[in-house]
Subunit: 349 residues, 3 copies
């Protein structure tokens, strides 16, 4: 092989070409671009969804105790650049200090974006992952969801308590209105922070096009706080996922942390000596990963000291430690074929 | 790609075509049909097996304390349909509400089947997974095993205590009679529920053809109960595994829960509000999976709240919770390329 | 397929041909031989490394409390045979009792090797994994490292405490001298056994060629002992990893335990009834594995009884039990396509 640059055919071949998913009865290969609107056009509106006629959702579950944490979230198209940083057009990876030669890195993504009440103004630019949804045990989380993308979408939460019709999951014939929010429609999800829901969770599209919209960026972290636990001083979200050709129509697939690939483009997290640091990690693609942080270790849920943790699709967990080690550190997935793309800086001053 | 149906060549290509195993020194590709009796014919009878001449097995380990839980289990060929439900010949998936186009779904499987004492009458139709073997700490489990399949087989248990000759594992030259039960032969396994063996386990073939007979259906769950713990009100087994061409000679591979693929064909589990529910989950193929249950969460062994758990080949675990959330819920593997096939209904009334 | 021996093209095809890694900006396919010195020649010496001019490393971190555990470790080329045992040139697998037909099994490996003080004399032959580095909480571990291989290398430790410049990781432009030890150069790593670092860990190359040197053999186990815990009577290291064509230039890839493949070539571990046994397990390749031990079970960190455990790249853990079950047992990875190669004997007398 002798280290010649590989052409596209070769790269796809050595990248696997596995089956990503089946949508509307059609097999989607992980290495092949797909026009997401085409399969969407063949999906019938489920009967209960049709009957609800764009009603923004039942309200019977709204009578929670505790605070009412209210969010206005729009799923919207956005142009996303997986590797935005460059110098005179040249993109470099700061881990291996090499030039990145993967062609175009910008694509038409979908993102959840938070707005001021009644969908007034966006609270920030669109981000991948989407806004962190937070509440405390005892609270009710009310999420007003508007779909501005061209395919039916949902918000499906993990971990938090929700009544069946607040599941945000497409269920074929049995689909509730919250499981099939049509383009230009809204639905209000009401989720409840029962005792036993404290933890690091996530939410993602679980509509009839799943997992393609998720692979286009529709996922985010959710934190249900334990009222007996102090807030961390610094807190970071790390979503390990991939942007693949069926979702991006780009030439190459990318292993990502928070929508970016390669150290210097993935987030650089910063903390100070003495900080109580929490990192919330989640897996949002088809792969299994291991989370490794240089220069640090933490206690797993059972008290074991670890510095490397296996997690899979849909898993989410939190690590927490008191910062005592200054310097420029790597965090990365320790799967060697993911390592260079799924890595970034953690800087302690 | 434009969502044309893919032909077989394309499907196999995007499905991977990985190495499944090596049997009798030959590589078995995951996507290629195999005649299991051909490699079996080349396996020599190990010396201790030949010397035992069909003796049904040593009895020295039978003197356990506690009850004697006795089973008569036959490994037998059975015709198994991975997707039995259809309407006018059309098979549908209830999760995505699409037509399933995977050709034939019936094949010549192997199953463990329970009989009345002395192999009198079958206790039920043949099932995949096989019968649940149960006992309580302190008991001795005595399993009379008869092989009615055309290749040497065994029963290898996980978790429970057993003396070396009760291992049920082929060990080449060192094989005990329990590790090579020839066609039309019997062996009595004696396993002991020592303190420290309480848990959810499984058993499976570990003979000279492993893993092909397991991939044809030879595995089942085993529960060793803790006498200090109340019985659950409802209890379900969920084996995540696959039926692949080398074992089925079918055109396609299938990701399965309990021998079936797709919601509506995989088991529909039912519980009632207030039930103390246990789900016993095991991984019986070459893949890693994550178990996710909508609308529910549980405490992991270390007390962490989770609703999604990674497990791998050979792993088994139990989740337990008090049912408080009525409705029609999905359980599924959260690996997206497994999700639609490895999913089913959990209905709470 | 009918069990014909598969030729190389077929084997590579069914083995996957996945992407192993990207080095110096070039994609490395898992099934293709690579000359490691070629990409190495293109890596520039980072500025701080050039400025240090072969200084054996900072000493400011040496003032630890407790004992000073000092090691002299050389990374050196060695000829390694993955399947050394044969009878008249015929190699056999003791698990399945079949002839192994995988061609040449000897290659030019790299190994960490321990020497007497000041690199006087080797303490043993070169081994894969390398020497076990041991210390107790409170100790300072001082590792004098000399690179006798033709490419820049490092020693990166897991779990133990180390100041930023003792990380042993290549960081592109930001690389410290300990992250780029040039051929025929030395560096002294000082690592500290703070409270909270007790556990089973490992160390491995994390230089600019990573992961190729690791895939050639550069990894080893590290144990930080808890002073409040008795030493086990018997203690074993089990590294699950693979030797693949890019690192070996051999025709086939091998799934290995401690550098060997197949029962009878992988280590045979021995213990006695009543022994307090510890097994230290680590994952050092791109795959996820499950560790299964026949006839035994242990308590996981959370107190759950298990006999099969999932772990991924970079993970390390310890199991411990009192030996009570005599006989000839298998340990193995329970991923079926790894099972026959990644297995061995554990014999209790």
């Amino acid at each position: 092989m002798d280290f010649d640059p590989v052409d596209r055919r070769k790269f796809l071949s050595i990248s696997g070409g596995a089956l990503l998913c089946t949508i509307a009865g059609k097999d989607i290969a992980a290495d092949t671009p797909v026009n997401i609107q085409k399969p969407a056009s063949g999906v019938a509106v489920p009967p209960e969804v049709a009957a609800a006629r764009g009603n923004p959702g039942p309200t019977k579950a709204e009578a929670g105790v505790g605070s009412r944490e209210e969010y206005w979230i729009v799923a919207e198209p956005t142009v996303w650049n997986i590797i935005p940083n460059n110098k005179n057009g040249v993109k470099r990876d700061q881990m291996m200090n090499t030039r990145i030669r993967k062609g175009k890195t910008k694509f038409n993504a979908y993102a959840y974006r938070a707005y001021t009440p009644n969908f007034g103004q966006p609270l920030s630019s669109a981000t991948i992952p989407g806004p962190v949804l937070e509440a405390t045990v005892g609270d009710t989380m009310v999420v007003h969801f508007r779909n501005k993308c061209p395919v039916p979408l949902t918000m499906h939460p993990h971990g938090i308590f929700y009544a069946n019709e607040m599941d945000g999951a497409y269920k074929g014939y049995y689909t509730d209105p919250g499981g099939f929010v049509q383009p230009n429609s809204e639905f209000t999800y009401v989720w409840e922070c029962h005792e036993g829901t404290q933890g690091t969770w996530w939410y993602h599209d679980h509509g009839p096009m799943e997992p393609l919209p998720l692979y286009k960026g529709l996922f985010g972290a959710m934190i249900v706080r334990d009222p007996n636990e102090p807030l961390p001083d610094k807190e970071f979200i790390l979503a390990f996922h991939s942007f693949l050709p069926p979702a991006t129509s780009l030439k190459y697939g990318f292993n990502c942390v928070n929508g970016r690939s390669y150290t210097g483009n993935t987030p650089t997290f910063r903390a100070n000596l003495g900080d109580d640091v929490a990192m919330h990690v989640l897996g949002a693609d088809d792969n299994f990963h291991t989370f490794h942080l240089h220069g640090h270790r933490w206690r797993d849920g059972d008290g074991t000291n670890i510095d490397n943790k296996t997690f899979g699709p849909g898993d989410s967990f939190r690590i927490r430690f008191i910062e005592e080690n200054p310097g420029r550190w790597f965090y990365h997935c320790h799967v060697f074929s993911h390592l260079v793309e799924m890595s970034g800086w953690y800087i302690v001053e």
